[in-house]
């Protein structure tokens, strides 16, 4: 990546925006996969049990929730980095 200091303000915002969108899309793909794929295979997944939890049930009741929390905190971290990279950090 070239040094963002050489870009003018609008260029920086545009580049920032594109990277922001790429980040959002990749996180949304994970979000979608975690929430909507396991329910399609629920009966197969429920054959597997982990400490008593049928796996399909576990995905719906715990795993997906935990992933959602992690996704948001990762987004916070990545965006803070992006803010600094394009010198758009809030004072």
């Amino acid at each position: 990546m070239s040094d963002t200091k050489d870009m003018d303000r609008q260029q920086r915002i545009n580049a920032y925006w594109n990277e922001n969108n790429r980040l959002i899309i990749s996180l949304l793909v994970i979000w979608f996969a975690v929430a909507y794929i396991p329910p399609l295979f629920i009966n197969q997944l429920n054959q597997i049990r982990i400490v008593g939890f049928p796996l399909g049930y576990y995905f719906g009741s715990q795993f997906s929730l935990a992933v959602f929390v992690v996704l948001i905190f990762y987004y916070v971290y990545a965006m803070n980095k992006l803010d600094s990279k394009y010198h758009l950090k809030d004072k």
Binding site: Y36, I42, I50, G52, S61, Q62, S64, I72, N80
Partner: protein
């Protein structure tokens, strides 16, 4: 960096206050528990003490945060640190339904209920990634502000303000009902008084201090509700599994449920049904068992008719699958397919992200950076409760399969008897009708008499049902089996339904019972039950608070200031806001008095409506510059129309459905229509003005400039180029 130091000091002080509050709450609970166990303090006193202490606390915070400054009144001065905004959002979000009823819903629905757990948490990912930072950057007061500024003109703002009011008013009514129920159950005051006491608590706080007081009260309410939610289930887990972390130990409960269901022959293939043919109980872990039914619509219409004296014709009761119909008439019931589950999860997620009372919480943080962080905290705090709810449900299910089902009704556990007396647990065995007045049949038996399935012959003319000592006999009339049991006869009378043993299908548990009865099941003192009641009250009041602010600001800010009188003084605006708060609270109380089932239904519909109206318009407003006013209006109107059409049709007549998707998930059809119409109409009409396009550019830049945004959003709307 003096400003930073000051902020740090303030945050430390806030942390200290709330830390002290948490410790105080625990100490008081312990003292009350000790007084109850050692000194035998009466239950009513304990209930009252908790009520007075918590309500007093909310009033105290309200008085301390009283304000006349507009920014503080509408958006808490925009200086709420991320973690506290997270807690406030959590309390704002988690309503009476989340706290009291959700575990019960999971208990009844098993896997299918997880749509709510995933939907109401997954929505926060959308909120974080797509909305929160931009809403903060926009930095005004209401969501109609955003719609109005981004799409220009009065109409978009008006449509948005009306939708915000309708959604929030039904939602707040449901909270007020919750407050009344909790008060009447735990303090023993009449329901109506409960409503009044609860609402006055809400008003003291929001009237004096607006959003500022609401925010700081919500933080305290979050602390109460999460402690109250976690304690009973932790002890229940310890009692049943010997391990005090319920979130990890309920796997054992699930295992036992599967085993017991096998022994009791409860399965999804042959689910238990109530008197009307509606499925009420099925296997717990297997997925996608829910059939389609219009039973809620029949109940709702009947209730409205009896309360208001109207004469709407209720729809003919229909359940799919309907086992009484001949095989060739049976309609596809879509059980075993994931479509309804997926659609409902999606609508709940998208609807969550489109609810105005949650969106406005992100106006209250100091920066874009903090707004992102605060969604993270919000979801974490919500997660703590939602992650635990399935444990409540599983432990209750286990306990009931193990110790209640298949037992003689005369020797059920004490907690079952107690909640049966309150009418929250229904046992549909005809032997329980012994000695009842024929004129006062329980709600489950009365329709059977109307439909002819149950015939009562008062042989001795005493006006009561006599079945004591009777034996069951059966005869066949016209190919139908007619049972006779004492003074009862009819097709509903069978050997199983009269044997005095509680079968699984004969047991109905109100959704509220699970959380409320858990302290009793776990053998905890009444103090814990009172703490749970205080938690439920906190959940209901905090949500009501947030919603009342949305309603009052939609009227005072969007209607009056923005549309009718842009020259109104600050004082007028604040006073109008305060009086609207009271008006909205009174209307909500009046709507709550009849306790209509339709209200809860409307709250569930609010998610689909928000998904089909607000969500696409706000999203495109940020991410698609070319989107314009006509497009947004066409999208909102079209999306809402399709949603409401599907909703009403399926609600009244369940054989109207696509892939078995119920009215609760009707937003799945309106959402794409909204996007599509918005796209087509925007493309066919002129691009938005340069000013609006500049506004979108500003939104995408995370550096805060509230003055510039205010100017852009202001009625004048003229900005010099390069105003930075």
């Amino acid at each position: 960096m003096a400003a930073n130091e000051a902020i740090k000091l303030r945050n430390n002080r806030l942390a200290q206050y709330y830390g002290m509050f948490t410790v105080g709450l625990i100490v008081i609970s312990l003292i009350m528990g000790a007084l109850e166990l050692v000194a035998g303090m009466p239950q009513a006193w304990i209930g009252w003490t908790f009520l007075m202490l918590t309500m007093g606390m909310y009033a105290f915070i309200g008085i301390m945060s009283r304000t006349k400054a507009l920014d503080e009144y509408y958006v808490a001065g925009r200086n709420v640190p991320a973690i506290f905004n997270g807690m406030a959002t959590g309390a704002d979000w988690m309503s009476a339904a989340s706290f009291i009823s959700m575990a019960g819903t999971l208990y009844a629905l098993g896997y299918d209920g997880l749509a709510y757990i995933m939907g109401w948490t997954g929505g926060y990912v959308l909120l974080a990634l797509l909305f929160a930072p931009y809403i903060r950057k926009f930095g005004q007061y209401t969501i109609p502000d955003f719609v109005g500024t981004r799409y220009g003109g009065r109409w978009p703002r008006l449509v948005a303000a009306v939708s915000a009011i309708i959604v929030s008013l039904t939602y707040v009514t449901a909270q007020v009902v919750g407050v009344g129920i909790i008060m009447s159950r735990f303090i023993g005051v009449p329901y109506e008084w409960g409503v009044v006491i609860g609402l006055s608590g809400v008003l003291v706080c929001s009237f004096l201090g607006g959003m500022k007081a609401v925010t700081w009260t919500q933080v305290a309410q979050y602390i109460i509700l999460i402690i109250a939610y976690l304690i009973p289930v932790t002890f229940l887990s310890l009692k049943l599994t010997g391990f005090p972390i319920p979130q990890f130990s309920y796997g054992v409960a699930l295992q036992n449920i599967t085993r017991l269901e096998g022994e009791l022959k409860i399965s999804s293939e042959a689910p238990a049904r109530d008197g009307t043919g509606r499925i009420i109980q099925q296997g717990y872990v297997p997925a996608y068992n829910e059939g389609l039914s219009n039973a809620p619509a029949v109940t709702a219409v009947g209730q409205i008719n009896s309360y208001f004296g109207t004469r709407f014709t209720p729809p003919a009761a229909q359940s799919i699958p309907n086992t009484t119909k001949p095989a060739e008439e049976i309609q596809p019931d879509w059980r075993g397919t994931p479509w309804n589950f997926l659609a409902l999860t999606f609508c709940l997620m998208v609807g969550t992200a489109g609810l105005p009372h949650i969106l406005i919480r992100f106006y209250t943080v100091p920066s874009v950076r903090e707004s992102r962080m605060s969604v993270g905290w919000a979801l974490f705090f919500i997660f703590l409760l939602y992650f635990t709810a399935p444990a409540y449900a599983a432990f209750a299910r286990w306990e009931i399969l193990q110790n209640v089902v298949g037992k003689e009704i005369s020797s059920l556990p004490v907690w079952t008897q107690n909640w049966s007396k309150l009418g929250l647990i229904t046992q549909r065995d005809y032997s329980t009708l012994e000695g009842r007045d024929i004129a006062k049949l329980p709600a489950w038996a009365a329709p059977q008499v109307t439909s002819g399935a149950l015939v009562i012959t008062d042989a001795n003319g005493n006006g009561k049902i006599d079945v004591a000592g009777a034996t069951f006999s059966e005869s066949e009339v016209d190919g139908k089996k007619i049972g006779t049991f004492g003074e009862l006869s009819g097709t509903a009378i069978t050997k199983n339904s009269t044997d005095g043993i509680l079968q699984f299908g004969e047991l109905n548990i109100d959704a509220d019972t699970i959380v409320l009865a858990t302290p009793e099941i776990a053998g905890l003192p009444y103090t814990v039950a009172a703490l749970v009641a205080a938690g439920g009250l906190a959940a209901a009041l905090s949500t009501a608070d947030g919603l009342l602010v949305v309603i009052s600001s939609a009227i005072a800010h969007d209607f009056y200031f923005r549309i009718i009188n842009p020259k109104a003084s600050l004082n007028t605006r604040i006073w109008l806001g305060k009086s609207m708060l009271i008006v909205a609270a009174v209307i909500a109380a009046l709507l709550a008095l009849p306790r209509l089932a339709l209200i809860a239904q409307m709250v569930a519909w609010a998610f689909s409506m928000a998904a089909a109206s607000f969500f696409p318009v706000v999203l495109l407003g940020i991410f698609w510059k070319r989107c314009n006013g006509p497009g947004a209006i066409a999208g909102m109107v079209g999306g809402l129309s399709v949603t409401i059409f599907y909703m009403a049709s399926n609600y009244l007549n369940p054989s109207f459905n696509v892939l078995g998707i119920t009215h609760l998930a009707s937003g799945i059809f309106g959402l794409p229509v909204n996007f599509l119409l918005c796209y087509i109409v925007s493309k066919l009409t002129a691009a938005p003005s340069q000013e609006v396009q500049d506004l979108v550019d500003h939104l995408r830049n995370p550096q805060l400039d509230d003055d510039l945004m205010t100017e852009l959003a202001g009625t004048k709307g003229k900005v010099a180029a390069g105003a930075h």
